[in-house]
Symmetry: C2
Subunit: 503 residues, 2 copies
């Protein structure tokens, strides 16, 4: 462990920055979950000022001096240095490099533009009219391209990689492209075979009836609690787009409920709970330090998907869940049998909506966005041409064309709040989830027996020890290597899909 006044000053400064970012996260949650529409302009200003203040704290001249001094001290400590401290310092240096690459007025302009665009997106999506939001999206994209150019120069990455690096450090376009090309090939063969098998099986019976949002919410809350979420440190609310936000001691999950169909919400809450448990499980000792944060968004998505897709759509867990649902909704008849629930929750279908997609076609939605956003950042695809390009890509990958903008390029919030380079994390996370589940099963023999009793604790304890507790000390591939013995390898995901859908 190296001890140095410069490093201590940096720790205090980064703690302040993280605390401001917590404030921003809470205000962002409020904007999505509660805020009256008339508050949007002022909220945009609030987030912009918070972002500007945090930016000023990272880029203050004394930070560069302290980083230099702390790095010299750390080198002096050599291999005897604490790996947490060393990683923390390395991550501080990276945040500083990223922040100093960006002028303060760009940071504030982006925060303001994103907030304004997101608000218009909500209206445009409701009206299924992309043209309403196109002018705002152009402004957002223009600023994103400025940011990408500035980061590219500083980090020595391509502009798109420089954006992606923010969400999943260490993953490059070339790596992702390789994984995605391989998946396209897999999907081209596997998807028709799965569809063929499904045609020969009994069709799933829809759960029919009225499923009041309040009842669904109560059940969702119970499922989250059962997965280990402590509502002394969490809330469950509603928003247009389900998400998990907040801070490690105050996690905010939002959901939406379809009163004619409870199927989506049950799994969505388990998904968001996976994210929440990661945040709650981060190392307390490193709270508000860069090394105490989650190790990127693909790692985050692996935690939501291992709960939602790997554990909770497994036969053992669905057996337990069937009993639970029957009791809550007074279900009766064959629709409520575990076998039918499995057919409902594991139905593979070419659809328009990413968040509704099954785990096999979901990567296709990601792959097309990965291509489109690369083209937009490069300047090869204009905002006005986005709906057409969207239709073309979806048609190429899944053979379908969206009937309107709300089921096309208006469905996701990401681009409209300036998030370009994020989408690949979903599929990298899905692949990692399969790999982690295989390792957890091998390490914890009672895992499936516990799932059959609705008990997720053996899995979540293993995840805590092998993923959550590491914070950002390890990057995505290092984390997978420590937990599973090898870096991200798509074989486990393909094996999982083959086993679940084709055997």
């Amino acid at each position: 462990m190296f001890d140095h006044a410069a490093y201590d000053r940096l720790k205090a400064r980064f703690a302040r920055i993280a605390t401001l970012s917590e404030a921003g996260a809470m205000l962002g949650w409020d904007a999505a979950a509660l805020m009256p529409p008339g508050g949007a302009v002022a909220r945009g200003d609030q987030l912009a000022v918070l972002a500007g203040v945090a930016h000023a704290l990272v880029t203050a001249p004394e930070v560069a001096e302290d980083l230099d001094a702390a790095e010299v001290a750390a080198e002096g400590a050599g291999t005897a240095g604490d790996p947490w401290e060393a990683a923390n310092l390395r991550l501080m240096r990276r945040e500083h490099a990223r922040a100093t690459a960006l002028p303060a007025d760009l940071v504030e302009a982006e925060a303001r533009a994103n907030s304004a665009c997101e608000k218009i997106w909500r209206e445009a999506r409701a009206a299924a009219d992309f043209s309403m939001v196109a002018p705002s999206l152009k402004i957002v994209l223009g600023l994103v391209r400025e940011r990408a150019a500035a980061l590219s120069e500083r980090l020595g990455l391509s502009p798109y990689d420089a954006l992606m690096d923010l969400y999943q450090p260490g993953m490059l376009t070339a790596d992702v492209q390789g994984l995605f090309d391989r998946y396209e090939t897999f999907l081209a063969t596997a998807l028709p075979r799965v569809e063929e098998r499904q045609r020969k099986s009994p069709p799933p019976i829809r759960l029919s009836g009225n499923f009041p949002a309040d009842t669904q919410e109560t059940l969702c809350r119970r499922l989250a609690e059962r997965a280990g979420l402590d509502f002394n440190h969490a809330r469950l609310d509603r928003s247009l787009h389900p998400f998990c936000s907040g801070t490690p001691s105050d996690v905010r999950i939002t959901m939406r409920y379809d009163e004619s169909d409870p199927v989506q919400a049950m799994m969505a809450v388990l998904h968001e709970t996976g994210h929440a448990l990661y945040e709650r499980g981060l190392p307390d000792a490193w709270a508000r330090q860069p090394v105490g944060a989650a190790s990127g968004m693909a790692a985050h998505e692996s935690q939501s998907l291992i709960l939602e897709m790997q554990a909770c759509r497994s036969d053992p867990f669905l057996g337990w869940l069937s009993t639970e649902l029957v009791s809550v909704f007074n279900g009766a008849g064959p629709a409520w049998a575990p076998s039918n629930l499995a057919r409902l929750w594991r139905r593979v279908e070419r659809g328009f909506i990413r968040v509704d997609a099954d785990e096999m076609t979901y990567p296709a939605h990601v792959i097309m966005r990965f291509r489109l956003e690369q083209a937009m950042v490069r300047g090869a695809l204009s905002v006005d041409d986005l709906p057409g390009a969207w239709a073309e890509e979806l048609n190429r990958l899944l053979g379908i064309v969206p009937p309107d903008d709300s089921r096309g390029c208006l469905q996701d919030i990401h681009w409209y709040e300036g998030m370009f380079g994020y989408f690949p994390a979903y599929t990298l996370g899905a692949m990692a989830a399969a790999q982690l589940m295989a390792a957890a099963r091998a390490a914890v023999p009672e895992l499936d027996r516990a799932l059959a009793k609705g008990d997720l604790a053996p899995l979540t304890h293993w995840l805590h020890a092998h993923v959550h507790a590491h914070g950002s000390r390890l990057d995505f591939n290092e984390l997978l290597t420590e937990a599973t013995g090898r870096k991200l390898d798509p074989a486990a995901f393909e094996a999982h899909l083959t086993s679940r859908y084709l055997s």
Copy 2:
């Protein structure tokens, strides 16, 4: 109008400060209305860092230079100067003087201590056990006394006046003491006479039945809308202690509902709506500038009380409200007649709880807090002796003694979040409300006819023009002088009480 780069820089800086303060207001609202208990520690840190950042912005060395330069330019402009700009600059100077009097670590320590104490207060109040929160309150009071001492020296006011000046600038202990002594004399004679009259009248019949919180909330929302609150810019939620917070474009009202009795909530929402309309009506052109803010808390309270006490407990409005209540709650029988509602809503009673008090005994609750907090700030009353002193004062003023701490010194949040010097504003506001109502009635002949139709617009339009739209350009007494022809004069309040309760 003077034009000066220094003044423009100050305006930009104060706008950032106000924006950070909006963020803090929203996080404070969330803490009271929604936050899970486990989030309290982190929230305290967030508020402390926001306060620290804002403090650093006000106290930066260049602010003093810019203030000096801008004041020279303003003097050069002489009487031709814009009174808004002049007032804005004057208020900036005052904020700067206040802030530079306080060391940054005191500001952050107070924010942190107040947030921690407030959390414990919630538990102590629920357990009716003052000893649980006494250690935290000692820390809070210690910091308040440090603040008072520092401000006293800088502003040339007594320590308690320096605190009160934060909430109602320009009002001094000596002025308030005079008004309060006069009121004590009035009350000593009037209260027994009112009680005597009440004994001779039919007793009010309690509205009996079950009044679901959701139904009450719907009605409260409708009353707020009817008073002119636009829910495109507002929310109505629930918390332990009803309050109005947020920002001018996103006002947050919270309420609590007693399902066995809807009487409190109806008037409480009108009270909070009065606050909300003031915020919503502040001059847009001066948003986020010191001169664009409300003119202190007594002025604020005058706006809530003119709605709640003056307008909505008047005979004409209660006539209308009776019909409304009957329709919402399917009320039938004599309990729902306007005359009984008047007896319910205008019942004078010696009670333990300030927020439940009628308008005649309410000032007694304020007067005792005014005395106790002066003594605590002076060091003449220790925290441990507070419950005893509380009982003594309440007994002296109203002849009653609280049965436990939750109905005694634990009932109000103020001290537990470091607000000392605030309480007088309630009664100054009540006096101002009576004075403003008399002026409004004289100026707007149709006012009472409109109230009889549940129409508050003639009153709220007059208030907008004569109070809200002035921001802080005028201080409390200047505002009253412009609106009513004279500074605060308790005669209108006494006349109102005499007319309503003794004629």
